[in-house]
C-alpha cells in the first residue's frame, strides 16, 4: 500500500508542478508586449529518492523551487549608459537644428549681408558722389546691423526656449525618482519574504532606463534597494527616499538646476536629454554668440578706422559709422549704425566729393584679417563651419550610438524577451506532462480499486 500512496503523492506533485509551469507560460504570454518585462522561468528539480524497502531507490518526483525572472544586470547597465548618451546627442541634434537656420542660405545671414554691403560699397568706385549709390550702401549697412541683432537675439531665444524643455525634464526626473524609491521598498519587502520580486524589478529597471534617458545616472544596488545618483554624485534615490531636483530662473534669465541640498549642479549634469540640452544652452550657443560678438566688434572697429582715413561727401574727415559697446561681449546685440545718411561714407581721400581714393581702404576691410586672424567673411565662414560641425557631429554620434543601443537591446531581448513561439511550444510540453501525470493518477486509482476488490472478494 505504501508504494501506491507514494506514487500518488509523486503524481500530484507532478500535476502541481506542471500547473505552475503553465501559469508561468500564461504570465509570460500575457506580458509579451509589456515594456521592460523579463520573461520568467519555472525552476523544477527532481526530488531525491527513497528506498521503498526492497533495497531499490526510486525517485520522489518533481519539486517546484520557484519562479525566477531571466535578466542580465550588466546588459541593463550598459543599456542605461548608452540610453543616456543617445538621448544627450539626440537632444543636441534637435536643439541645434533651429540654430542652423541663421547660418544657411544665400540671403538673410550675416555673411550674405556683409557681402552685399561690401559690393554696394564697391559700386561707389565708379560713381563716388552718387547719392543713390551711397544710400544703397548705407541701407545695406543697416541690414547688416539688423542681421547681427536678429542672429544674436535668435540664438538667445533658442537658449531660453530650451529652458522649457529643461524644466519639463526636471519635473519628469522628480516623478521618476519618487516612483523608483517606492519600488525600492516593494522590492525589499518581496525579497524579505524570500520571493523573486520579478515584476517590481522589471518596473524599477524600466523606470531607471527612462531616468537614464533624461540625465546621466549611476546606480549602486544595496540590500535596501537601488541607490541612484546623478553623474556628478548628487543623490536622487536612496532606499525608499527620493531627492528632488529643482530648477529656478537666475539673474541671467536662464534656469539653474539645484540638488536637494540647494547646491547648483547645472554645470556638472551630463548625459541624457537634460545633459544634451544643457550642453547646447550653456556651451554650444554661448560659443557661437561669442564668435558673432567678436565678428561684430572686429568688423565695426576695422570699418570705423578705415572711415577715419578718408573724408565724407561734405569734405569733413570720416567719422565712425558703427557704434559698438566697450566690451566685445554683447557687440552683436548692440552694434548700431551712427549715421543713416549715405554722405557719411568716407569714400574720398582728398576731401573732394568725386574722389574715391579711400574706397579701397573701406572695401579692403572685407578681406583684411581681424583680431582673430580671419577676415570678416572668413570669420563668418568659420562660424558656419563650427555650427555645421556641431550639428553633424551630434547627428553622426546619434546614429552610431543608436546602432549600438539597438544591438544591446536586441541582446537584452534575446536574454529576457518573451518569445511567443517558445512559450507556445512550452505550453504544449507542459500540457502533455500534465495529461500524463493525470493519467498516472487515474492508473493508481484503478490499482487501488483492483487491490480493494481483491481484498473484499476474498
Amino acid at each position: 500500500m505504501g508504494g501506491l500512496n507514494t506514487a500518488l503523492t509523486v503524481a500530484s506533485c507532478a500535476l502541481s508542478a506542471q500547473e505552475a509551469a503553465i501559469e508561468t507560460v500564461n504570465n509570460n504570454i500575457a506580458n509579451a508586449t509589456t515594456p521592460g518585462y523579463s520573461r520568467e522561468i519555472v525552476d523544477l528539480s527532481s526530488a531525491g529518492s527513497t528506498d521503498n524497502g526492497t533495497g531499490v531507490a526510486i525517485g520522489d518526483g518533481v519539486e517546484l523551487d520557484g519562479v525566477t525572472s531571466v535578466r542580465d544586470q550588466l546588459l541593463s547597465l550598459r543599456i542605461q549608459q548608452q540610453t543616456s548618451e543617445q538621448s544627450a546627442v539626440a537632444a543636441q541634434s534637435n536643439a541645434l537644428a533651429p540654430v542652423q537656420t541663421y547660418f544657411s542660405g544665400t540671403s538673410g545671414t550675416i555673411g550674405s549681408d556683409l557681402s552685399t554691403f561690401f559690393s554696394s560699397l564697391s559700386a561707389l568706385s565708379a560713381n563716388p558722389s552718387s547719392t543713390a549709390a551711397r544710400q544703397t550702401a548705407i541701407g545695406n549697412a543697416q541690414n547688416l546691423v539688423q542681421q547681427f541683432h536678429a542672429t544674436s537675439s535668435g540664438l538667445t531665444s533658442v537658449q531660453t526656449g530650451l529652458d522649457t524643455q529643461i524644466a519639463g525634464d526636471v519635473t519628469t526626473i522628480n516623478s521618476l525618482t519618487s516612483r523608483i524609491a517606492s519600488l525600492n521598498s516593494q522590492v525589499a519587502a518581496a525579497t524579505a519574504q524570500g520571493q523573486d520580486g520579478g515584476s517590481y524589478l522589471d518596473q524599477r529597471s524600466a523606470l531607471e532606463q527612462q531616468l537614464a534617458g533624461l540625465t546621466g545616472i549611476a546606480i549602486t544596488t544595496t540590500a535596501a534597494g537601488d541607490t541612484v545618483t546623478t553623474s556628478n554624485g548628487s543623490p536622487l534615490v536612496e532606499a525608499n527616499e527620493s531627492f528632488a531636483l529643482s530648477a529656478a530662473k537666475q539673474g541671467s534669465g536662464l534656469l539653474q538646476i539645484s540638488d536637494s541640498n540647494g547646491r547648483d549642479i547645472t554645470a556638472s549634469l551630463t548625459g541624457g536629454d537634460l545633459g544634451g540640452l544643457l550642453q547646447v544652452r550653456d556651451q554650444a550657443i554661448p560659443s557661437f554668440l561669442s564668435q558673432i560678438d567678436s565678428l561684430a566688434n572686429g568688423f565695426a572697429s576695422a570699418f570705423n578706422s578705415a572711415q577715419a582715413s578718408g573724408y565724407d561727401l561734405t569734405g569733413a574727415p570720416g567719422s565712425a559709422l558703427f557704434s559698438i559697446p566697450a566690451t566685445v561681449s554683447g557687440s552683436a546685440a548692440s552694434i548700431g549704425l551712427i549715421s543713416a545718411d549715405g554722405s557719411a561714407l568716407a569714400v574720398s581721400s582728398d576731401g573732394s566729393a568725386n574722389s574715391n581714393g579711400n574706397l579701397t581702404t573701406l572695401t579692403g576691410v572685407q578681406n583684411s584679417p581681424l583680431a582673430g586672424g580671419l577676415s570678416p567673411t572668413g570669420s563668418f565662414a568659420a562660424l558656419v563651419d563650427s555650427v555645421g560641425n556641431a550639428v553633424s557631429e551630434a547627428a553622426t554620434q546619434s546614429t552610431a550610438i543608436q546602432a549600438s543601443l539597438t544591438q544591446l537591446t536586441n541582446q537584452q531581448s534575446a536574454v529576457s524577451g518573451v518569445s511567443i513561439d517558445e512559450e507556445s511550444s512550452n505550453l504544449i510540453r507542459y500540457q502533455q506532462a500534465y495529461q500524463a501525470a493525470a493519467e498516472v493518477v487515474s492508473t493508481i486509482q484503478s490499482l487501488f480499486s483492483t487491490t480493494i476488490n481483491m481484498v473484499s472478494g476474498a
Partner: protein
C-alpha cells in the same frame, strides 16, 4: 543560443532609416542641392560663404568695369575731338602767319580761333554720369569757367580716380583737366589764347610761335591717348577675366552644394527600391508565428 524574439525594433529601425534616406534623396532631387543646412556638410557650407562673397564682388566688379569703360571711352573720344579742333587751329594759324594775309583777315581768323577755343573748353567740360570728366576729383558743374576773351579758370584739382575692378586691381579712369589742357609741355588752352592774341595784334612772328605751340599741344594730347587706351585694354581684359571667373565661381558652388540631376535621380531610385524591400521584408517576417501551424 537564444535569439531576440522581437523583430519589431529591427524592422522599425530599418523602416525609419530607409524612409529617412528616401526623404533625403527626394529633397536632393527637388532642390537640386546636396547641402541645405550647414549640418549637411560643414566644410562645403563654410566654403560657400566665401564663394558667395566672391561672386557678389565679381558681379559688382563687372558693373564697375563696364561703367569705367564707358567713362574712359568718352574721355578718349574727347581727346580725339580736341586733336581735330587743334589741327584746324594749326591750319588757321599757318594761314594767319602767311605774309599775304591781311590784317582784317587775321582778325577774322582770330575770331575763328576763339570759336575753336570755346569748342575745346566745351569738350573739356564734358561730363559723364553727371560728373565732369576732367575736374580731377572735385564735384563741380564744369571743369573750366570763363570765356575766350577773359580767359579760363580751372575749377578742379590735380587728383585722379581709379576704379576698383578686382580685389586688388584698380584702373585709372581720369586725368585731371589741368594736366590735360593747361600742361606746361603742351598747353592747349594757353596756346590757343596765345594764337588768338597774336592774330589780333597782327604779329606774324607771334602767330608763328603760337602756331608751333598749338602743334606741340597736339602732340601732347595725342600722347595722352595712350593713358586712356591702356585703361581700355585693361578694362577689356578684366571684363573677360571676370566673366570667366563668374563661371568658375558658379561651377565651384555647384560642386560644393549642388547635386547633378543624374546622380540625384539614381539616388532616389535606389532609395525607393531600398524602402520597398524593407517594407516587403517586414510584411514577410512580422506575421509569422508557431501558432499558425499549431492547428
Amino acid at each position: 543560443m537564444r535569439v531576440s524574439p522581437n523583430l519589431e525594433p529591427d524592422v522599425l529601425a530599418g523602416m525609419q532609416q530607409s524612409q529617412a534616406d528616401l526623404q533625403k534623396a527626394l529633397q536632393e532631387v527637388s532642390t537640386g542641392q546636396r547641402v541645405n543646412v550647414p549640418g549637411d556638410d560643414p566644410a562645403a557650407s563654410a566654403a560657400m560663404v566665401q564663394n558667395l562673397a566672391e561672386s557678389n564682388n565679381n558681379d559688382q566688379y563687372t558693373e564697375n568695369a563696364s561703367s569705367a569703360l564707358g567713362q574712359v571711352q568718352t574721355a578718349d573720344s574727347v581727346l580725339t575731338s580736341v586733336v581735330s579742333l587743334l589741327t584746324q587751329a594749326v591750319s588757321l594759324g599757318t594761314e594767319g602767319a602767311s605774309s599775304t594775309t591781311t590784317a582784317a583777315d587775321r582778325q577774322t581768323i582770330a575770331t575763328q580761333i576763339q570759336g575753336i577755343l570755346g569748342s575745346v573748353v566745351s569738350e573739356a567740360n564734358t561730363s559723364y554720369a553727371g560728373a565732369p570728366l576732367f575736374a580731377g576729383t572735385v564735384d563741380t558743374p564744369t571743369a573750366f569757367t570763363g570765356s575766350p576773351t577773359s580767359g579760363y579758370t580751372y575749377q578742379g584739382n590735380s587728383e585722379s580716380n581709379q576704379v576698383q575692378v578686382g580685389d586688388s586691381l584698380q584702373v585709372q579712369v581720369s586725368v585731371p583737366g589741368n594736366v590735360l589742357f593747361t600742361n606746361a609741355s603742351g598747353n592747349v588752352l594757353g596756346s590757343l589764347s596765345q594764337l588768338a592774341a597774336a592774330l589780333n595784334s597782327g604779329s606774324v612772328a607771334g602767330v608763328g610761335t603760337a602756331t608751333s605751340a598749338v602743334t606741340s599741344a597736339i602732340h601732347f594730347i595725342s600722347s595722352q591717348h595712350a593713358v586712356f587706351g591702356n585703361s581700355i585694354n585693361q578694362l577689356n581684359t578684366q571684363e573677360s577675366f571676370l566673366s570667366q571667373e563668374k563661371i568658375t565661381l558658379s561651377s565651384e558652388a555647384t560642386n560644393l552644394i549642388g547635386v547633378d540631376t543624374a546622380t540625384a535621380a539614381e539616388n532616389l531610385a535606389q532609395a525607393e527600391n531600398q524602402n520597398s524591400a524593407v517594407l516587403a521584408a517586414a510584411a514577410k517576417v512580422l506575421p509569422t508565428s508557431l501558432l499558425d501551424y499549431l492547428k
